[in-house]
């Protein structure tokens, strides 16, 4: 269970990333965090894997309170979270299987069990035949699959994905999304930040949380949707594909 209660994150007095964010995510959910650049999607993910602490409010992830968690607790928590980034963050000098194995090694998993678990998860993401290749020998989509395999190998409760399709072409993006849907179907919660609205539209039964200027302006799980002064984004026609220009202007922001 993930719970954010009245969370604010301020980097400086004038740079407010989040304010009054209250959100609850149960195990097994697939949640899209959408919103324009700078709306606070990545900040929410950072709060969840505890790279950042809230300035105000409380963040709980699988029973760990972000405000008071010790570094060791955070390390233990991250072993139960899979994290995937737009830029893959693979170790360039290690093969696909070594990258995946690395996530097991840091947890102190018995070395005899590592090859089998790595092989299983690489098969799951469709990369069994490329296990011994270095990241530079793989396509972008394949590198992201390695990153997903690394995130999955510890059987996480939650998989956090920050713009995982941002560097991929349409075909590779669809493959990655399908993979995340399969992972979710197997019981892992997936929280994915994206500004690709096409992906969100194509996904059935996924919860969508829209952010703007650091506030939640729409949550599809709430009925009726919260009263806000902003237009829920998915209700608007999106013309010309996902880009910041497609986001509706805020009242009075002059755009």
């Amino acid at each position: 269970m993930i719970r954010l209660h009245d969370v604010a994150k301020e980097y400086t007095r004038t740079r407010v990333a989040l304010s009054h964010v209250t959100l609850q995510i149960r195990r097994g959910e697939f949640v899209f965090l959408i919103g324009p650049s700078g709306s606070g999607k990545t900040t929410i993910l950072k709060l969840l894997y505890m790279e950042e602490k809230p300035t105000h409010g409380d963040v709980w992830v699988s029973g760990v309170h972000a405000n008071t968690a010790k570094r060791k607790e955070i390390s233990q928590l991250r072993r139960r979270l899979g994290i995937v980034f737009q830029d893959f963050r693979l170790l360039e000098d290690r093969t696909a299987e070594e990258n995946v194995a690395f996530a097991l090694e840091v947890t102190g998993a018995p070395s005899s069990a590592i090859p089998q678990r790595v092989s299983r998860v690489l098969t799951q993401v469709g990369l069994a035949s490329k296990a011994t290749q270095l990241p530079r020998q793989l396509s972008g989509g394949e590198q992201q699959r390695v990153a997903i395999a690394r995130a999955l190998v510890n059987d996480p409760y939650f998989l956090l994905a920050d713009e995982p399709t941002g560097n991929l072409d349409d075909r590779a993006s669809r493959g990655v999304i399908q993979l995340l849907r399969d992972i979710n179907a197997a019981g892992t919660s997936v929280i994915m930040a994206t500004h690709d609205l096409e992906i969100v539209r194509r996904a059935d039964n996924a919860r969508t949380v829209e952010l703007n200027h650091g506030r939640i302006v729409f949550d599809s799980s709430e009925t009726p949707p919260p009263e806000t002064r902003y237009t829920p984004l998915l209700g608007q026609p999106v013309i010309g594909g996902p880009s910041e220009g497609n986001w509706p202007p805020l009242p009075g922001d002059g755009r």
Binding site: S75, R78, I83, R89, F102, V106, R150
Partner: protein, 281 residues
Amino acid sequence: MLAAREAFNASRRAPLLSMLGIVTIAFSLFAFGLFALVAVNIRHALRNVEQRVEVRAFVSEGTPADAIAAAMADIAVFPEVAKVDYITQEGALERARRDMGEFSDVFEEALLPASLDIHLRPGLRNPETVEAVADRVKSYQFVDDVRYGEEWVRKLYQLRTIAAGTGLGLGIAFAAVSIIIIGATIRVSVLARAREIAIMRLVGATDSFVRAPFLIDGFVKGILGALLAIGLTWVAYRMVDTQLFSVVFFDPRLIVVGLVCGASIGLLGSATSVWSHLRRI
């Protein structure tokens, strides 16, 4: 085991950076080693001079042999005294001739008085102890005079104190500079692996897990750097010893101290660099 493997792999992946680390440690310790070699030789030279510090009690002519023997037995058990020699008039003449070299013929007969030459124990050759022993020896009735080169002993002791203080001060300064340079070098190797450290943290590595390979790396580089520094210092020692003048090298105990210092500096440099890096992420 995993930490050792990670440390080895990191060195293998960046051999130039590893070499740079070892060479920097080696040259920093080499500079310190040269200073230490000079300090050791100054100490060695002062110790040689110190061994010549003695109290000489001149004995009245005609003193019975048994009185001298009794006094010698008495003086020999002073806690400060290492040994007592009785130098007869003939012995004194022979020694004077030997010391005077080409002017030895100025002494034709045994004019010089007999004496008791009292050698003090190492560490007890300071002016106060020498003076105290001299005062006690003066109390023997057959002792005409006692000489111990008051001024010379005082100056020697001052020199020793200055040399020790300067040595300590310079030693600390050299060690501090070495530690700073070595720390900066290790910091570069930590920064070169910043991305890897960030990924380690993201997949759940604890601080101690992240730190361990760096500590092993620093320890090994410290030992290798120290070995190289000792080798370079030995080459410098041989050059001076064979080409210029006779000098002494570190004894095995000091070589072990050098290795321990190298390993400790490598270990501490790594520990502080990784610690400060981890604090920031």
